[in-house]
């Protein structure tokens, strides 16, 4: 197990290096720079700025310096927000995105699994159809429409929640719902189909023959096996949801990292682009690793390569 993890960590470092390199060169290949604006700066001022930020130096120097600073976890000052470093932006933005993402994840997983199970247990009856209509809606309605609809109905018409901003727990409900809708629907469908498959297996019949109650069969035998695809999906999902969604953060005015990431690209805020990309990559790679490890616990049939029995 340990050997497996250390090998995976090594792969992670290699992927990270490739990501950093590719991002660095792609970013520099895009026309425009952090100081180009509607009102062009006097050339002397621009030259001075380029010197200060080291943009006038040869690319290999900049690239090498960048690798060193990534290793030190110091991404440098933001171009777009004077006086703030990229580390500040990440430290302030990520907890917000993380909180919102956790809330959405919790909603998506709990309601999604619940709906899926209800649907599977009532196969081809009205709860099944109801849950699946709900799921199809959740998957097919884009998040920005879902967000606007939630704002319109729950905030303006019913006056249950505020329209936007990030102040109290109440403010978090609508964005979390909007963010959770698609994964919730996806999880519901996933749970339903794998649950149906599991329920038709021989060992369930055996369990029934042994005289176990339906509840016991469902909880002890069916759900555990049916959740495997959900766990697979959970890895990339949590990385995606926890890092924040640009659309949701923009619509609800949430000071998260997702909007910073997208805005930094249109601002050509080089340091922020790199910093947030590295941060995201690490999250994603870590999430995938965690899922692979979690497999081993949920499904004893899957053995991690390199692991020994009993380890």
């Amino acid at each position: 197990m340990l050997r497996y993890i250390s090998r995976r960590l090594l792969y992670m470092l290699v992927s990270l290096f490739l990501i950093v390199t590719a991002t660095f060169f792609l970013m520099r290949a895009v026309p425009g720079g952090p100081f180009s604006g509607e009102k062009k700066l006097p050339p002397e001022i621009e030259k001075n700025l380029n010197e200060y930020y080291g943009l006038d130096r040869p690319w290999y120097n900049q690239y090498f310096d960048y690798l060193v600073s990534v290793a030190k976890w110091d991404f440098g000052p933001s171009f777009k927000y004077k006086g703030q470093t990229v580390n500040d932006l990440i430290n302030e933005g990520f907890p917000v995105s993380f909180f919102l993402g956790m809330e959405a994840l919790l909603l998506a997983v709990s309601i999604g699994i619940l709906l899926g199970i209800i649907a599977a247990l009532n196969h081809n009856k009205w709860p099944d159809y109801g849950a699946m209509v709900f799921a199809v809606l959740g998957i097919s309605v884009p998040s920005f429409i879902m967000a606007s609809a939630l704002q319109y109905f729950l905030a303006i018409k019913l006056e249950l929640f505020p329209v936007a901003r990030w102040e109290s727990l109440q403010h978090t409900v609508l964005p979390a719902l909007a963010l959770a809708a698609t994964p919730m629907a996806f999880i519901a469908r996933l749970t339903r189909s794998s649950m149906l498959e599991v329920l038709s297996n021989d060992y369930i019949r055996t369990a029934k023959a042994k005289g176990l109650s339906k509840g016991q069969i469902t909880v002890k035998h069916a759900i555990r096996n049916a959740l495997l695809p959900v766990v697979t999906y959970l890895g990339p999902l949590s990385a995606g949801v926890l890092t924040g969604s640009f659309v949701i953060e923009k619509i609800f005015g949430i000071p998260g990292l997702g909007s910073q990431f997208v805005l930094s690209i249109s601002n050509r805020d080089y340091t922020t682009i790199m910093g947030v990309t590295v941060f995201y990559s690490i999250l994603l790679l870590a999430a995938v690793l965690l899922v692979d490890i979690a497999y081993g616990f949920i499904d004893p049939r899957i053995k991690l390569a390199g692991g020994k029995k009993g380890e």
Binding site: V30, L41, Y81, E92, Q151, L158, R165
Partner: protein, 546 residues
């Protein structure tokens, strides 16, 4: 199992109801408070606005964007302030100008910083020199180039002591200018000219990065909290010299970068003001808001124009440029496409600066003349028919509004002149790069004035390589008029020179003006006294709720 499930489900329902109920109660309480307040005519003087984004910097010397400007304008105060379109004395009590118009001597009034320190002439001298100091990387340092040796110091060619700003004593500030600058008192109201508390800044160079005891300002409001990318809260500054005339006790500035959300928040009572100049209304909502009588419209100093690359055929020919300019139906465009109550522009300088420019230099949608000029232009280019003219490329930065305008103009040129137009769009930074490097034929651009003087618009086209010219156009007579106007001390004569220059510009047409910008917004009915200047800047110091 079924029982347990249903139990769980109902628990969740109850929980959600509970959450919902909390929301509902809070809201009612607020509404109740307001109503009670109305009766006692004791309305809470708390303003909630949206500033869309995190400001670049809240250091007056570093700020270079409208969001920072909006915040700084409330928290700081310059020597002058713009009210009713004219500069008025603010931190200065009086001033004298030398006969050659190059030396201004300001007497400061007794005023205090938010921490109680007196505002001194040294604070102004320190702030201006700080912004000009090349090692501080101020992108807007060039706003101070009017001061003697300002540019030289910023470019490392002069010493700080050579810069023409000097504190004679605590209350007297002497400013020497490079050239006579008739609009200098407009400039002193601009944020780059604000003072900085030199006692604090010398002790703590990071004073401006966050709200706190070291963030001191001298304006009507003080910043009490700044949550980056989320919100800024200002409160009335009790140390302000004119505090008795400041009625708002609190300004809450949200950073919500979505037009539709902003309007929804206003409709839901979460904002007291939605739209410009701090935010933006969704374009689709404007006709409806206008019909309901809620929309406020104010012309501002900005021009939307099409730049012609005068070095690329066929735009090296003035008659072709004229033909295209005359063949735009601006009235139809403004009424049916942009729908923001913009004013058709047949001149370069907005009517907020030259009121007579509402009429302009030529007739809108003059198709007859346009056709004549086209024929003439084609002949000069050696072409027989408009069919021989290769299709022209119209560039714009990727944006719905610009795309609609481009399609409308494409259609007008095709219909009125038979010219084929290709549309091409690019992401903003890419687009700007193309324009500045001359890699375009026709391209849209907007220009907003920094201060209230026509020179702001005219000097763009003074030098071929002027940085913001982009058209590669230059005219010796035009250039001379602008240079001479800087030295002219008689305001009437100076205005005439600028008008003459504009006439040349509108005859040669390196740019085709399309419309003058307007600010559109909605506001609470009982909010009064908000001052939106002709430049589109907002001041809340005189605002109050009735």
């Amino acid at each position: 199992m079924k029982k347990r499930l249903s139990l769980l489900f109902s628990l969740m329902l109850i929980l959600s109801l509970f959450l919902a109920a909390c929301g509902g109660f809070n809201k009612k309480d607020e509404a109740g408070d307001n109503k009670a307040g109305d009766k006692k005519s004791n309305v809470p003087q708390e303003l909630r606005v949206n500033i869309k984004t995190e400001p670049f910097s809240l250091h007056p010397g570093l700020a270079n964007d409208s969001t920072s400007g909006t915040v700084l304008r409330q928290t700081f105060e310059g020597l002058t302030v713009i009210k009713d379109g004219k500069p008025q004395l603010a931190a200065a009590e009086s001033y004298e100008v030398s006969d050659d118009l190059k030396t201004y001597t300001f007497k400061l009034r007794d005023a205090k910083w938010t921490n109680g320190d007196p505002v001194t002439a040294q604070d102004f001298e320190y702030a201006w020199k700080w912004a000009l100091d090349p090692k501080n990387q101020s992108q807007y340092a060039y706003q101070l180039y009017y001061i003697k040796n300002g540019q030289a110091y910023n470019e490392g060619k002069a010493k700080a002591d050579d810069v023409g700003v000097k504190a004679i004593d605590d209350k007297t500030l002497q400013v020497t200018l490079e050239n006579p600058t008739p609009y200098f008192l407009e400039l002193t109201a601009f944020y780059t000219y604000y003072p900085v508390n030199s006692k604090i800044a010398q002790k703590n160079p990071n004073w401006y990065k966050n709200a706190g005891p070291d963030y001191t300002s001298n304006g009507p409001f003080k910043m009490v909290s700044w949550e980056h990318n989320n919100k800024i809260v200002l409160e009335k500054n009790e140390n302000y010299w004119d505090a008795k005339n400041v009625k708002l006790t609190k300004i809450d500035m949200a950073m919500v970068n979505d037009d539709n959300t902003e309007l929804s928040m206003f409709n839901n009572g979460e904002l007291d003001w939605a739209g410009m100049p701090t935010g933006q209304l969704p374009t689709d909502s404007l006709p409806q808001l206008k019909k309901e009588g809620k929309l406020h419209v104010q012309p501002i100093a900005g021009t939307y124009w099409l730049k012609f690359n005068t070095e690329k055929p066929p735009f090296n020919n003035v008659n072709i440029r004229k033909a295209l300019t005359y063949a735009i139906d601006r009235k139809a465009l403004v009424e049916n496409v942009t729908k923001g109550e913009q004013i058709p522009a047949m001149a370069a300088v907005p009517p907020t600066m030259f009121p007579e420019n509402k009429k302009g230099y030529f007739k809108d949608n003059d198709v007859e003349k346009a056709k004549e000029y086209l024929q003439k232009g084609l002949q000069e280019l050696g072409l027989k028919d408009v069919k021989d003219l290769p299709p022209i490329t119209y560039s714009f930065n990727t944006n719905d509004a610009h795309a609609k305008i481009a399609q409308a103009i494409q259609d007008m040129w095709k219909k009125n002149l038979g010219i084929n137009v290709k549309l091409e769009n690019a992401e903003w930074n890419v687009y700007i790069d193309k324009l500045h490097s001359g890699d375009y034929q026709v391209g849209r651009m907007g220009w907003l004035g920094d201060f209230n003087d026509p020179i702001n618009f005219l000097e763009l086209f003074r030098d071929k390589k002027g940085g913001n010219n982009d058209t590669n156009w230059e005219n010796p007579k035009y250039k001379q008029l602008l240079i001479d106007s800087q030295k002219q001390s008689d305001p009437e004569k100076r205005k005439q020179m600028l008008k003459d220059a504009e006439a040349i510009l509108m005859d040669e047409l390196p740019v085709a003006p399309v419309y003058f910008y307007t600010n559109t917004w909605v506001q609470k009915d009982n909010l009064k006294g908000v001052e939106v200047s002709g430049l589109g800047d907002v001041q809340f110091r005189w605002a109050y709720f009735e």
